[in-house]
């Protein structure tokens, strides 16, 4: 989408702009740490807010609505309980709870997504590729503006958890991750002030182009 107007830099350096935002932030992280859902499912929940609501909401309002939705889906809370904060149903079992003494370590460790490669990389630096024209109903990290566009592999980053399947609860299925350079004119025509746009693409997002590297005689043509 376009036409949102100027970027308005923040008036100050405050991280939070409403009194409730710090707690909405903390509750989201703390519940995320229970393993009830993965990061990709969390992102999908945010994206799945109705567009008009999404665009009209402040950032942490989106977080809060998504958190509520994720918990309702799992029966961890009920609508009646949310209305006044009074527990009516016994708690659902959790894999783990984030204790205070674990916070620093959990934050410092993070959640790396790189996994041991299960297969060789299909593409190499310099390869010409085309981002696939896909339109999944569920989560993907292939932006619409590169679908069907030609780019060049500029770097490989090992294999990483694949969000498209992970967000459906279908497992990590790690895939090779590439940074792909797209010439800005390829994406936007003449109406751009960018020189190039670099997008991180998992292997299933890409097809090889017929004009692959000259010294790779076994390169497959586009499927």
């Amino acid at each position: 989408m376009q036409g949102f107007g100027r970027v308005v830099p923040d008036a100050d350096d405050a991280h939070f702009h409403e009194t409730w935002e710090p707690m909405a932030f903390a509750l989201t992280l703390a519940m995320g740490a229970t393993g009830s859902w993965n990061l990709d499912q969390g992102r999908f929940a945010r994206e799945s807010l109705p567009p008009a609501q999404y665009l009209a909401s402040t950032y942490y309002r989106i977080w809060f609505e998504a958190l509520v939705r994720l918990m309702l889906e799992r029966g961890q809370v009920t609508e009646a309980e949310l209305a006044d904060g009074l527990m009516r149903e016994p708690p659902r079992p959790l894999t783990r709870v984030l204790g205070a003494d674990a916070v620093a370590e959990v934050l410092a460790r993070g959640a790396p997504t790189e996994r041991h490669p299960l297969a060789p990389a299909r593409f190499a630096v310099g390869d010409a590729v085309m981002a696939r024209q896909i339109n999944p109903a569920t989560h993907t990290r292939l932006p619409r503006y590169v679908r069907g566009r030609q780019g060049t592999i500029v770097s490989l980053h090992g294999t990483h958890v694949y969000p498209d399947t992970h967000a459906r609860g279908e497992g990590e299925s790690p895939c090779w991750l590439y940074t792909v350079r797209f010439d800005a004119h390829e994406l936007w025509g003449a109406d751009t002030t960018a020189s190039s746009v670099f997008v991180d693409c998992w292997e299933p997002y890409l097809d090889p182009l017929a004009s692959a590297r000259a010294h790779s005689p076994t390169s497959a043509g586009p499927r």
Binding site: E18, A26, L27, R43, T113, H157, A194
Partner: protein
């Protein structure tokens, strides 16, 4: 706030009430720990912020070996400072050079390198920035009062995966012999995203490092 007060309906907003209710509910259910909530808030309000990234940049400016390590494996090089973890597990440094300027965005949500920059500013997460950065980065930079020469190559990085990007701006002229602490004072948050440049020596704060890490 870990002990929610009884809400006064004539003073609390709808969202304040809803968040208070959720907090009480999740603590009572045993899903979240009240002290952990406090620590999470404290960490990102006070302990993690762009001062971290400024130190990385300043070190790269003075130490060619460090710069090489930052280029080869940014995650490891940044970890030398103890800046690791959540939303910074896979770091990549983008080096500005004369004629090449980088801009980082997450068009799909708000992905941002928390361990080195803290939490993103509201503008970074906004629809205008997310949509325009990849189309009209010059226009976006104009909104920040930054004009680059027409010959400058503008490379925009869309953080679609878990790789997190830190722009390493070029070192300002007139800083020969400066210490890393003095240099870090010139490195603004915006210069590490790409919507700004580092401060020039005459614009440096008079009392450096007075700010907290945030």
């Amino acid at each position: 706030m870990t002990t929610p007060a009884e809400p006064h309906r004539n003073t609390l907003s709808d969202m304040e009430l809803r968040v208070l209710a959720l907090e009480k509910l999740l603590i009572d259910k045993g899903y979240v720990d009240a002290k952990a909530l406090d620590l999470l808030i404290d960490t990102y309000e006070h302990r993690v912020g762009p001062r971290n990234g400024a130190k990385v940049v300043a070190r790269a400016w003075v130490d060619a070996d460090y710069r090489a390590r930052l280029s080869a494996d940014a995650t490891a090089a940044i970890a030398e400072f103890g800046y690791t973890g959540r939303q910074g597990e896979h770091m990549v440094a983008l080096f500005n050079e004369p004629g090449v300027h980088h801009l980082v965005v997450c068009t799909l949500c708000s992905c941002y390198p928390w361990p080195v920059l803290g939490l993103p500013p509201a503008w970074y997460k906004s629809a205008p920035y997310r949509s325009r950065a990849v189309i009209d980065p010059r226009g976006v930079l104009s909104d920040f009062g930054l004009e680059l020469s027409a010959q400058t190559e503008l490379r925009v990085f869309d953080s679609t995966a878990e790789l997190r990007y830190l722009v390493i701006p070029t070192r300002p002229a007139g800083t020969d012999g400066w210490t890393v602490e003095q240099l870090a004072d010139l490195v603004t948050r915006d210069s590490m995203i790409g919507t700004g440049l580092p401060l020039s020596p005459d614009a440096a704060p008079a009392t450096p490092t007075a700010r907290s890490a945030a």
